[in-house]
Symmetry: C2
């Protein structure tokens, strides 16, 4: 806890595939007859099966949350600084699961997959999914792994929306939720940025209504612009200023449309990289997942009522410079949880990095998560076999 513990990587990891043959009815009305979810697991599930932690990924990440692959030691998991032996989510004590969500492009069934009804890739026909759908399919994965109740479900950003939804849909199936850099719903501005990204992709002539696989094309131009605009919203204005400012790429002005400023170079690089590996249909759907997330919607806008089923204990964390999902929005969640007499710990971390801070190696942030999991550890030892849930006390926020 004081940082003296030696931390290590979980080492070489191997993705596994879980196949589900029971149809899943999605919120949009579509039914997927069968599907696969690719996942990874780190650490050891204890005899009581009480030490499992589900890590939910955000926009462009995947099941590969920690460790590296044998055939590519440079492909480090996206939350490797958070998960591992001696790390905040300590794999010496917890059995940690990362899963690629339905509709993804990293191995789980998604738009690139073959639709068994047609024998062709789903493409534009792959349904619009939601956070609720993801959580429902994650619950089936938990069943598949024999996990009745998670010690914790956690995530940042879109991942946090999944953790929050777990507490509403399956209140008995998790003891703790870590809701990091979250919002109770996207603002008009958030949706607006997503819509720009979608329109860039959809109007790319190589998109072909989402059936670009059949045309042998990829809407890379659209994906590139989509990623560039997204990236701006992940960083704070200040972080961009200190990282790039008005630094010139080549020392002097060229007065041309080539790269003039460092920030242009950075964005183009990020856009190009993303367009090479990410599937456009998945990106479109994930932006919709974000737009649709709004647990209060079905309760007349009342977030308190929406969160009424929640029984978990909560760690809610926001970052001061996050202008995408600002601390103000996290406080809405905290207030609604407290109104439900939930056990909530809330921290606003002063971090310069904007929304992306949840992914970064901030010592106060990581110590906080470490301390929180230490507490889970104690309780696990005491309560694991009894099924006693730790909730209902109105803790300090």
């Amino acid at each position: 806890m004081d940082g003296s513990t030696t931390t290590q990587t979980v080492g070489i990891v191997t993705p596994r595939i879980a196949k589900f043959t029971e149809p899943v009815a999605l919120k949009c009305g579509a039914v997927i007859d069968e599907y696969e979810l690719v996942y990874e697991a780190y650490g050891t599930l204890n005899r009581e099966r009480s030490n499992a932690v589900l890590v939910c990924h955000a926009l462009n990440a995947s099941h590969h949350a920690a460790g590296v692959y044998a055939d590519d030691p440079t492909d480090v998991g996206w939350w490797d600084n958070m998960i591992g032996p001696g790390k905040p989510v300590d794999t010496n004590r917890f059995f940690v699961i990362g899963v690629n969500n339905l509709g993804g492009c990293h191995g789980s069934t998604g738009p690139k997959s073959i639709n068994p009804r047609t024998g062709k890739p789903w493409g534009g026909q792959f349904p619009v999914v939601t956070v609720e759908d993801w959580v429902a399919t994650q619950a089936r994965l938990a069943d598949h792994l024999g996990i009745r109740q998670f010690a914790a479900v956690m995530g940042g950003s879109l991942g946090a929306m999944q953790a929050l939804t777990w507490t509403i849909k399956y209140p008995e199936r998790l003891r703790h939720a870590l809701v990091i850099a979250c919002t109770p719903s996207l603002s008009a501005q958030n949706i607006a940025f997503n819509e720009v990204a979608r329109q860039a992709i959809i109007t790319d002539p190589d998109f072909h209504g989402g059936d670009y696989y059949a045309h042998g094309t990829t809407p890379k131009r659209g994906l590139r612009v989509a990623r560039m605009v997204g990236h701006i919203t992940y960083l704070s204005d200040d972080e961009m200023a200190s990282k790039f400012g008005r630094q010139l790429k080549y020392g002097k002005l060229a007065y041309s449309f080539d790269t003039e400023f460092e920030i242009e170079s950075y964005l183009r690089y990020q856009g190009n990289k993303f367009a090479e590996y990410f599937d456009a249909n998945t990106y479109l759907r994930i932006t919709k997942v974000l737009d649709y997330f709004d647990p209060a919607f079905e309760h007349g806008g009342d977030l308190v009522r929406a969160l009424a089923p929640a029984k978990a204990s909560f760690l809610v964390i926001s970052f001061t410079t996050d202008w995408r999902f600002s601390p103000e929005r996290s406080r809405e969640i905290v207030t609604a949880l407290l109104d439900n007499r939930c056990d909530v710990t809330y921290a606003e971390i002063e971090a310069p990095h904007g929304h992306d801070a949840f992914l970064l190696d901030d010592v106060r942030y990581h110590r906080l998560v470490t301390a929180y999991f230490d507490r889970i550890g104690a309780e696990t030892a005491a309560d694991a076999g009894t099924g006693i849930l730790h909730h209902g006390s109105k803790a300090a926020a």
Copy 2:
């Protein structure tokens, strides 16, 4: 001043064209042999030619700042709420000039124009222009009109950058500068948004390296996305929230990629409208004009030294919710002007509308401009014939 004055429109206006045959050497190194500027004028130039006000346009506006056209009474000038008889810039007292800048697409020489050296449209060969180039060509227009010294040069956003540059490049040629919703230079984030817009246009297959006129195409898809992303930055988050929030377009969710939320509908509409009338090559260049604006750059980043030549009196105005060019950036200008012992009036208007507030009909904002021009009026009567410049006193900021 108390709002009791009857305000009217300037009525039907007619654009005029000024032709310049003396070559202009641009900052980028290119030379334009001859060019035309289209402009409009409202009110009457007095005998002393001392009551002229130059209105500089921002990103997508033009010379058409006030009034309507005989053949289209719905085409109202972009700053008609500011300029007219009895309005803040009172055409009963001032001779107000609006001019379309070089490189524009509303009648002045620009990428759509024929390059006399080739007999074909300039297209992608039209040079990159800067605020300094614009101000230099505006000064020639002033010569053409026999105006030695403006009573005021004014503008909002990019228009304000021109007003500020006038005070540096031609300090003797204006008595007042109205610098509204300005910044001393674009931030990395500002440049990043511009770069997204440019990349959307440049990578549109219909762009053809800027020579789309020859191909009979228009990069409408790119322009549309560019305008959408720009539009987000003109409005405040709060304004978007109160105007659109999460309102659904058709009352219920469709779970499709059609318009789901009102904000999507609004952005698509704005994007489509813009793509119909605006020239992509002009848009690209105007975003570069913004990026390059940085008067301190040639003075080792010292804005105080950059503004040292200024002799004008200043009215600097910012808007509290403007996150594009925040009040903080206007205060940098004010501080540098005060360090030069300039006469500065500064106001931070509490307005919910974000950057676009400078275009809107806010009563406090307009009363402030009215009061400022009343002061110009008094001074004009006293000093017009004497050439006495009103500067050097360190006024309250």
